[in-house]
Symmetry: C2
Subunit: 217 residues, 2 copies
């Protein structure tokens, strides 16, 4: 289904996933506006997408549209949520209660339909026992495994210094967390049984620099 | 050069940029190890990349390799840095000195070769006049335009609440900042003369959920 990639773990191609996330948001907006059916052209026009790409992305996963009608908004929304595993709430735990960990714990981006931040973990005794601004409890890192089990956490976010990233990734994987999102400035290799996505913020800056350099030519 | 995209501003395709960033890092590592020449196969094998993709990415921008030899490490590194506009240091300013803004200002990812965080901006009088942990000054948001000029800032990072994102983006664009990286949980539309890259952290969570859902099928 996804293109073969040397850089990324097997699974759903990230651009496909990102476009389907955008479609899902568009459907939520349309539903809120009382719209019942929508064509791929209307979706494209109203939300700045490519109609052929929408059809292609959806076609990978089944039959969603009705010929001559387009998509039933509520129906497609439900099917997309099921496809993407968003029909229930997944618990996220965040290792590292520094500025980044707390920013993520309190972010509207991490507290959306489908996700709930269950806990932050840290080794700093001055932080442990406290809460983030929005009330996420900060727990001792050594209790991670037991809390992952209690919370049934499925996503672990790494927001610790580079030096600690790999050890924390192994701790999360060992606790049975099936997916890891790593924001530490150190790449974590694939771990047995756990999907690891490294997010390197430097890439965003380098991409902007590249855009500026190309524009000047 | 980049594929036509309905979702992204014109310019260099982000996956290409990300792969070239990875090649550049690999070259830095090789140079540090005293390696003078490398083939695309060796690059691929040592750094987990796809050799054909490396050649294809580079071929878009010119002739880099020498037949039968591969690439001269120092030479390719220099050319890539020039291509990506990384041969000099670009100043980054960050709007919003909350947890996220300060995390970014102090992050190793934002303080790498090619970039320097010049200032944070905020409206909170308790923060203004202070510094981040690593010493980045926190300035009053109303002084952004004059400081952008003084610092010759080329990249503006938005780390303010969603409600303020668009106003801050316009402030940055109005001050002549040519590239914006928006981390606020609200999408900023393209602005005249300024390249805007919205980073939606929810996409990362939704992608992980998608991977987990697909894996279970």
């Amino acid at each position: 289904m996804a293109e073969k990639s040397w850089d990324r773990p097997a699974g759903v191609a990230e651009p496909t996933s990102e476009r389907l996330s955008l479609v899902l948001r568009a459907l939520r907006t349309l539903e809120g506006q009382g719209v019942h059916t929508v064509s791929s052209y209307q979706l494209a026009e109203r939300f700045g997408m490519n109609p052929a790409q929408i059809r292609k992305d959806l076609a990978q996963f089944g039959e969603f549209g009705v010929r001559g009608v387009g998509y039933h908004v509520a129906d497609l929304k439900l099917k997309l949520k099921q496809l993407m595993g968003l029909e229930r709430t997944r618990v996220v735990v965040i290792a590292g209660a520094g500025n980044l960990g707390q920013a993520l714990a309190d972010s509207r981006n991490f507290n959306v339909e489908g996700f709930k931040v269950g806990a932050l973990f840290d080794v700093d005794g001055r932080k442990v026992g406290g809460r983030s601004r929005t009330g996420v409890p900060i727990l001792e890192l050594s209790t991670l495994a037991q809390n992952v089990a209690t919370l049934k956490a499925e996503i672990g976010v790494i927001a610790v210094p580079a030096e600690a990233a790999l050890a924390v990734a192994r701790l999360l994987a060992g606790a049975g967390v099936p997916a890891i999102l790593n924001f530490a400035p150190a790449s974590v290799p694939p771990l047995e049984g756990t999907f690891v996505r490294n997010v390197d913020l430097t890439f965003f800056l380098e991409n902007l620099s590249f855009q500026l350099a190309v524009r000047k030519r």
